[in-house]
Chain length 245, copies 2
Amino acid sequence: MSIQLELFIHPMCPFAQRVLYVMAYKGIQCQIKEIDLVKKPDWFLEVNPKGLMPALKVTTSNRVCLLHDSIVISEYFESFPGPYLYPRLTNDVVDSLEKAVLDIIMSTSIDALKRQIGQIYYNATPNDRELGYFRRTIAVVEDLIPDGKYFGFKALGKDEITLIDLLALPLIERIVAFKDLGLPYYQGVNLQNILSWYSRIRQLPCVKAYEMPLIRYVNLRKYMQSNKYEGLSLPASNYDSPPKI
Amino acid sequence: MSIQLELFIHPMCPFAQRVLYVMAYKGIQCQIKEIDLVKKPDWFLEVNPKGLMPALKVTTSNRVCLLHDSIVISEYFESFPGPYLYPRLTNDVVDSLEKAVLDIIMSTSIDALKRQIGQIYYNATPNDRELGYFRRTIAVVEDLIPDGKYFGFKALGKDEITLIDLLALPLIERIVAFKDLGLPYYQGVNLQNILSWYSRIRQLPCVKAYEMPLIRYVNLRKYMQSNKYEGLSLPASNYDSPPKI
C-alpha cells in the first residue's frame, strides 16, 4: 500500500522535535512543512482546523487521516519498518510487557520533566515548592540513566535505545541549554548522568540531522521573559540572537 | 511462556473498572485482589510501594513487572489473544493508523470527559466557565456516537467496539448515574446518544460481570459533598446507602 506522509512542524517546538527525531531514526520519508506559529497560514488551518502542531497527514489509497500529539505520531512511526524503538520478541512482534514498562516511564518521569521545562520557560521567580519539584524530577531522571545508560536500562536490564530516549531528548536539550544561566532551579543539582546520556545520544545521525544550537533555546527563553514572545516564528534563525530591548 | 497475573483494584474506582471490563472482554484470567483505599494493607504497599491503583503484577518465568495506569494495563491486556479491541489488518497485526486515530479520541474527548467527572464529583457550585466546559464536552461525545454507535464509528467508518468504548464506560456510567439529580451541569444537555450507547454496551457479558448499581455513585458523591469521604473503602456495598448525617 502506498502511503504519503506530510508532517507539519516548527523546528524549535519540542513536541515537533520528538517526531522529527523518531522519523529520522526510523528512516521514514515525510514531506516536511514548517509552520509559522505567529502567523498560522490559512492552508494549514484548512488541513488541520484545530491548528494543533505537530500534525501528520497520512494519505493512503483509501483514506486520509490527520494525526496530532507527539506520542501518537511517534508510536505510529514506530510501527513502520526500520530499526525498532520498542523491544521486540523473537518473532519481531512488539514485546507488549516491556512496552508497558516503558509507557509508565513516559507517563511518569518524562511527563514530569515536561512540566518542569514549562516552569523554567515561563517562571522567572519559582517558589520553594516549584524548586523542590524540579530538583526531585531531575534526581529521578538521573537515577534512571546511570552513567548515561539509555532510559529503559534499569527497568529492562538492557542498555538499548527506545522510543522513550527520543521523546525525552527535546526536553533534556533544554535542561542542558539552561544549565549555565545561573537559574535558581539548578543550584545543588547534579546533572552528571543526564550530560553523559546527552553527549551519547547526540552522536546519533537522527539527532545530528535535526538538533538546534542550544543558544536558540536560551534566546527563546529571553523572548518569553521579556514579553516579546508571540509564538514560534520562522525561520528558526530568528532565535540566534536575544530580543532587542 | 506461563504468565501469572495479579490485579489490584477497588470495584468502584473508575480506572480499576476500565481494566476489569477490558480483562473480562478479552477473557483474561487474573487473580483479583480488592484494596481498601481507606486502610491500604501493608502487603499492598510492599508489592507496590507507590501505592498506585489499579496495578497489575505480572510474573513470568524470568521476571516480575508491576504495571499501573489504567491505559497502560488495558493496552497490555489488548495484546493478549482473544477478541480484539484495536482494529487489525488482515494478518492480525494491529492497524497502527487506526489505533493512532483511536488514541487521539482517547487523549482528547475521553480525557475531557474524565476531567468533567472530577468536576461533578467534587464541585457542588460550578461557575459558568465550568458549566460551559461540561456542556461542550458532552456535546463532543454526543457527536462521536450518533444513535449509540461505538466511539470509533465516525473516524473509522465501522460500528465496532474498540478499547475506547471500554475506557469511556466507567465515566459514562457516572454521567448517567447523576443525570436525575437536578445538578446545574445537566440543564439543557442532550444525552440521547450517550444513553443509547450505554444501554447497548451494558448488554455485553464483560460489562454485566463487573458493573455496579448506579445508586452507589450517587451515594459516593453524597459522601464527598458531606466531607465524610476518606477514600474508597470495602466492601462496595458500603455505598448502597447515603452517609448518615
